[in-house]
Protein backbone atom coordinates (compact mmCIF):
# COMPACT_ATOMS: atom_id res chain seq x y z
CA UNK A 1 0.00 0.00 0.00
CA UNK A 2 1.59 3.23 -1.12
CA UNK A 3 1.58 6.39 0.91
CA UNK A 4 -1.13 8.66 -0.57
CA UNK A 5 1.28 11.59 -0.93
CA UNK A 6 3.81 9.49 -2.85
CA UNK A 7 1.05 8.01 -5.01
CA UNK A 8 -0.25 11.47 -5.88
CA UNK A 9 3.23 12.69 -6.73
CA UNK A 10 3.77 9.70 -9.01
CA UNK A 11 0.49 10.42 -10.81
CA UNK A 12 1.55 14.05 -11.23
CA UNK A 13 4.92 13.00 -12.63
CA UNK A 14 3.22 10.62 -15.04
CA UNK A 15 0.85 13.30 -16.32
CA UNK A 16 3.67 15.80 -16.80
CA UNK A 17 5.86 13.33 -18.69
CA UNK A 18 2.96 12.21 -20.88
CA UNK A 19 2.34 15.84 -21.76
CA UNK A 20 5.98 16.37 -22.68
CA UNK A 21 5.96 13.24 -24.84
CA UNK A 22 2.82 14.33 -26.68
CA UNK A 23 4.27 17.82 -27.26
CA UNK A 24 7.48 16.39 -28.72
CA UNK A 25 6.10 13.50 -30.73
CA UNK A 26 2.83 14.57 -32.31
CA UNK A 27 2.64 16.37 -35.64
CA UNK A 28 -0.73 18.05 -35.33
CA UNK A 29 -0.83 21.39 -33.52
CA UNK A 30 -4.06 20.56 -31.68
CA UNK A 31 -2.43 17.47 -30.19
CA UNK A 32 0.39 19.70 -28.99
CA UNK A 33 -2.18 21.88 -27.25
CA UNK A 34 -3.67 18.80 -25.56
CA UNK A 35 -0.16 17.89 -24.38
CA UNK A 36 0.29 21.34 -22.85
CA UNK A 37 -3.00 20.92 -20.99
CA UNK A 38 -1.75 17.61 -19.60
CA UNK A 39 1.48 19.22 -18.41
CA UNK A 40 -0.43 21.97 -16.60
CA UNK A 41 -2.65 19.35 -14.99
CA UNK A 42 0.37 17.41 -13.80
CA UNK A 43 1.71 20.52 -12.09
CA UNK A 44 -1.72 21.11 -10.59
CA UNK A 45 -1.93 17.57 -9.23
CA UNK A 46 1.39 18.15 -7.46
CA UNK A 47 0.13 21.36 -5.87
CA UNK A 48 -3.10 19.73 -4.72
CA UNK A 49 -1.32 16.70 -3.28
CA UNK A 50 0.92 18.88 -1.13
CA UNK A 51 -2.06 21.01 -0.16
CA UNK A 52 -3.94 17.94 1.09
CA UNK A 53 -2.10 17.85 4.39
CA UNK A 54 -1.86 21.62 4.77
CA UNK A 55 -4.47 23.27 7.02
CA UNK A 56 -4.26 26.58 5.17
CA UNK A 57 -4.81 25.22 1.65
CA UNK A 58 -2.20 27.30 -0.17
CA UNK A 59 -1.63 24.71 -2.88
CA UNK A 60 -5.29 24.72 -3.79
CA UNK A 61 -5.28 28.52 -4.13
CA UNK A 62 -2.28 28.29 -6.44
CA UNK A 63 -4.10 25.57 -8.38
CA UNK A 64 -7.04 27.86 -9.06
CA UNK A 65 -4.65 30.40 -10.58
CA UNK A 66 -3.11 27.66 -12.72
CA UNK A 67 -6.55 26.66 -14.06
CA UNK A 68 -7.34 30.27 -15.00
CA UNK A 69 -3.98 30.65 -16.74
CA UNK A 70 -4.57 27.39 -18.64
CA UNK A 71 -7.91 28.69 -19.87
CA UNK A 72 -6.32 31.94 -21.05
CA UNK A 73 -3.50 30.07 -22.76
CA UNK A 74 -5.82 27.73 -24.63
CA UNK A 75 -8.03 30.59 -25.85
CA UNK A 76 -5.08 32.49 -27.30
CA UNK A 77 -3.52 29.34 -28.75
CA UNK A 78 -6.75 28.42 -30.46
CA UNK A 79 -7.16 31.89 -31.99
CA UNK A 80 -3.59 31.70 -33.33
CA UNK A 81 -4.22 28.21 -34.68
CA UNK A 82 -7.34 29.30 -36.53
CA UNK A 83 -5.36 32.11 -38.14
CA UNK A 84 -2.57 29.72 -39.12
CA UNK A 85 -5.08 27.31 -40.61
CA UNK A 86 -6.75 30.09 -42.56
CA UNK A 87 -3.40 31.16 -43.93
CA UNK A 88 -1.54 27.91 -44.60
CA UNK A 89 -4.53 25.50 -44.94
CA UNK A 90 -2.80 23.00 -42.65
CA UNK A 91 -1.82 22.47 -39.03
CA UNK A 92 1.11 20.16 -39.76
CA UNK A 93 3.93 21.52 -37.63
CA UNK A 94 6.58 20.33 -40.09
CA UNK A 95 5.17 22.36 -42.97
CA UNK A 96 4.92 25.63 -41.06
CA UNK A 97 8.33 26.97 -41.92
CA UNK A 98 7.73 30.43 -43.31
CA UNK A 99 7.30 33.34 -40.94
CA UNK A 100 6.12 35.69 -43.67
CA UNK A 101 3.95 34.98 -46.62
Amino acid sequence: MLDPIIFGLIIGTFLFCTGVLIVIVKKNAIFVMIGIELMLNGANVNLVVFSGSDPNIQGQLMGIFVVVLAAAESVVALAIMLNIFRHFQTLDLNSLKKLKH
Binding site: C17, L21, E37, V48, S53, N56
Partner: protein, 164 residues
Protein backbone atom coordinates in the same frame (compact mmCIF):
# COMPACT_ATOMS: atom_id res chain seq x y z
CA UNK B 1 -12.54 2.71 1.10
CA UNK B 2 -10.91 5.99 0.15
CA UNK B 3 -7.82 4.12 -1.04
CA UNK B 4 -9.99 2.17 -3.47
CA UNK B 5 -11.25 5.39 -5.02
CA UNK B 6 -7.74 6.79 -5.09
CA UNK B 7 -6.43 3.82 -7.04
CA UNK B 8 -9.50 3.80 -9.27
CA UNK B 9 -9.05 7.41 -10.34
CA UNK B 10 -5.29 6.90 -10.65
CA UNK B 11 -5.87 3.97 -12.97
CA UNK B 12 -8.35 5.97 -15.06
CA UNK B 13 -5.83 8.81 -15.40
CA UNK B 14 -3.09 6.36 -16.37
CA UNK B 15 -5.15 4.54 -19.00
CA UNK B 16 -6.65 7.64 -20.61
CA UNK B 17 -3.32 9.50 -20.79
CA UNK B 18 -1.53 6.49 -22.26
CA UNK B 19 -4.25 6.01 -24.86
CA UNK B 20 -3.97 9.71 -25.66
CA UNK B 21 -0.36 9.16 -26.75
CA UNK B 22 -1.18 6.38 -29.16
CA UNK B 23 -4.47 7.50 -30.66
CA UNK B 24 -4.45 9.06 -34.10
CA UNK B 25 -8.05 10.21 -34.13
CA UNK B 26 -8.56 13.80 -33.01
CA UNK B 27 -12.15 13.29 -31.85
CA UNK B 28 -11.12 10.30 -29.72
CA UNK B 29 -8.32 12.45 -28.33
CA UNK B 30 -10.80 15.13 -27.25
CA UNK B 31 -12.98 12.57 -25.46
CA UNK B 32 -9.98 10.89 -23.85
CA UNK B 33 -8.85 14.29 -22.62
CA UNK B 34 -12.34 14.76 -21.13
CA UNK B 35 -12.06 11.42 -19.33
CA UNK B 36 -8.60 12.31 -18.07
CA UNK B 37 -9.67 15.72 -16.79
CA UNK B 38 -12.76 14.33 -15.05
CA UNK B 39 -10.73 11.65 -13.30
CA UNK B 40 -8.25 14.31 -12.21
CA UNK B 41 -11.21 16.16 -10.70
CA UNK B 42 -12.11 13.01 -8.76
CA UNK B 43 -8.51 12.79 -7.62
CA UNK B 44 -8.72 16.34 -6.30
CA UNK B 45 -11.76 15.45 -4.17
CA UNK B 46 -9.77 12.69 -2.48
CA UNK B 47 -6.96 15.12 -1.68
CA UNK B 48 -9.29 17.54 0.10
CA UNK B 49 -9.57 20.05 -2.74
CA UNK B 50 -13.26 19.85 -3.56
CA UNK B 51 -13.54 23.48 -4.65
CA UNK B 52 -10.74 23.02 -7.18
CA UNK B 53 -12.47 19.83 -8.38
CA UNK B 54 -15.63 21.80 -9.15
CA UNK B 55 -13.56 24.48 -10.89
CA UNK B 56 -11.80 21.77 -12.88
CA UNK B 57 -15.08 20.29 -14.12
CA UNK B 58 -16.55 23.72 -14.91
CA UNK B 59 -13.59 25.28 -16.69
CA UNK B 60 -11.73 22.32 -18.17
CA UNK B 61 -14.47 19.87 -19.02
CA UNK B 62 -16.94 22.64 -19.78
CA UNK B 63 -14.82 25.34 -21.37
CA UNK B 64 -11.44 24.26 -22.64
CA UNK B 65 -12.72 20.97 -23.99
CA UNK B 66 -15.45 22.73 -25.96
CA UNK B 67 -12.76 25.07 -27.31
CA UNK B 68 -10.62 22.12 -28.39
CA UNK B 69 -13.58 20.39 -30.03
CA UNK B 70 -14.36 23.67 -31.80
CA UNK B 71 -10.76 23.86 -33.02
CA UNK B 72 -10.88 20.28 -34.26
CA UNK B 73 -14.09 20.89 -36.20
CA UNK B 74 -12.81 24.11 -37.75
CA UNK B 75 -9.37 22.87 -38.78
CA UNK B 76 -9.93 19.23 -39.58
CA UNK B 77 -9.84 19.09 -43.34
CA UNK B 78 -6.95 20.16 -45.45
CA UNK B 79 -7.79 20.88 -49.11
CA UNK B 80 -6.62 17.41 -50.11
CA UNK B 81 -9.15 16.07 -47.62
CA UNK B 82 -6.73 14.33 -45.31
CA UNK B 83 -6.15 15.03 -41.65
CA UNK B 84 -2.59 15.48 -40.53
CA UNK B 85 -1.89 12.99 -37.80
CA UNK B 86 1.23 11.05 -37.06
CA UNK B 87 4.48 11.18 -35.25
CA UNK B 88 7.93 12.59 -35.66
CA UNK B 89 11.06 12.52 -33.47
CA UNK B 90 9.84 9.27 -31.90
CA UNK B 91 13.19 7.99 -30.60
CA UNK B 92 14.34 11.35 -29.29
CA UNK B 93 10.99 12.04 -27.63
CA UNK B 94 10.80 8.71 -25.84
CA UNK B 95 14.42 9.05 -24.71
CA UNK B 96 13.96 12.53 -23.25
CA UNK B 97 10.66 11.69 -21.60
CA UNK B 98 11.89 8.44 -20.11
CA UNK B 99 14.97 10.13 -18.70
CA UNK B 100 12.92 12.92 -17.20
CA UNK B 101 10.35 10.51 -15.75
CA UNK B 102 13.06 8.40 -14.11
CA UNK B 103 14.74 11.51 -12.71
CA UNK B 104 11.55 12.90 -11.13
CA UNK B 105 10.53 9.42 -9.95
CA UNK B 106 13.86 8.93 -8.18
CA UNK B 107 13.47 12.34 -6.59
CA UNK B 108 9.94 11.52 -5.37
CA UNK B 109 10.82 8.09 -4.00
CA UNK B 110 13.96 9.26 -2.23
CA UNK B 111 12.25 12.29 -0.71
CA UNK B 112 11.87 12.57 3.04
CA UNK B 113 8.30 13.78 3.02
CA UNK B 114 7.17 10.88 5.13
CA UNK B 115 3.65 9.59 5.50
CA UNK B 116 1.19 12.33 6.28
CA UNK B 117 -2.52 12.02 6.66
CA UNK B 118 -4.81 13.73 4.20
CA UNK B 119 -7.03 16.20 6.02
CA UNK B 120 -10.78 16.21 5.47
CA UNK B 121 -11.91 19.72 6.26
CA UNK B 122 -15.18 21.48 5.51
CA UNK B 123 -15.99 25.12 4.84
CA UNK B 124 -13.27 25.50 2.24
CA UNK B 125 -15.17 27.89 0.00
CA UNK B 126 -15.42 30.46 2.79
CA UNK B 127 -11.71 30.11 3.51
CA UNK B 128 -10.79 30.47 -0.16
CA UNK B 129 -13.00 33.54 -0.60
CA UNK B 130 -11.49 35.26 2.43
CA UNK B 131 -7.95 34.51 1.29
CA UNK B 132 -8.59 35.69 -2.27
CA UNK B 133 -9.84 39.05 -1.06
CA UNK B 134 -7.22 39.64 1.63
CA UNK B 135 -3.94 37.80 1.28
CA UNK B 136 -3.96 37.18 -2.49
CA UNK B 137 -5.78 40.33 -3.59
CA UNK B 138 -2.97 41.50 -5.89
CA UNK B 139 -2.74 38.17 -7.73
CA UNK B 140 -6.53 38.04 -7.95
CA UNK B 141 -6.80 41.48 -9.55
CA UNK B 142 -3.88 40.80 -11.87
CA UNK B 143 -5.45 37.61 -13.13
CA UNK B 144 -8.75 39.42 -13.70
CA UNK B 145 -6.88 41.97 -15.78
CA UNK B 146 -5.10 39.18 -17.67
CA UNK B 147 -8.47 37.62 -18.52
CA UNK B 148 -9.68 40.93 -19.93
CA UNK B 149 -6.53 41.23 -22.07
CA UNK B 150 -6.96 37.66 -23.30
CA UNK B 151 -10.60 38.30 -24.19
CA UNK B 152 -9.75 41.36 -26.26
CA UNK B 153 -6.66 39.78 -27.84
CA UNK B 154 -8.37 36.55 -28.81
CA UNK B 155 -11.36 38.27 -30.36
CA UNK B 156 -9.04 40.63 -32.24
CA UNK B 157 -6.70 37.96 -33.62
CA UNK B 158 -9.53 35.51 -34.28
CA UNK B 159 -11.48 37.66 -36.69
CA UNK B 160 -11.09 37.45 -40.44
CA UNK B 161 -7.65 38.51 -41.58
CA UNK B 162 -7.07 42.24 -41.66
CA UNK B 163 -5.33 42.34 -45.02
CA UNK B 164 -6.41 40.41 -48.11
Amino acid sequence: MIEVWMYFFGLLILVSALTLIFTENLIYAAFLLALCLLSIAGFYVIYNASFLAVIQILIYAGGILILIAFGIMLTKRSPEGKVIVGYHLLFFGFLVTLGMALLIYALVVSSTIGPREILQTTGQVREIGIRFLTQYILAFELIAFLLLVVLVGASYSGKKSQHA
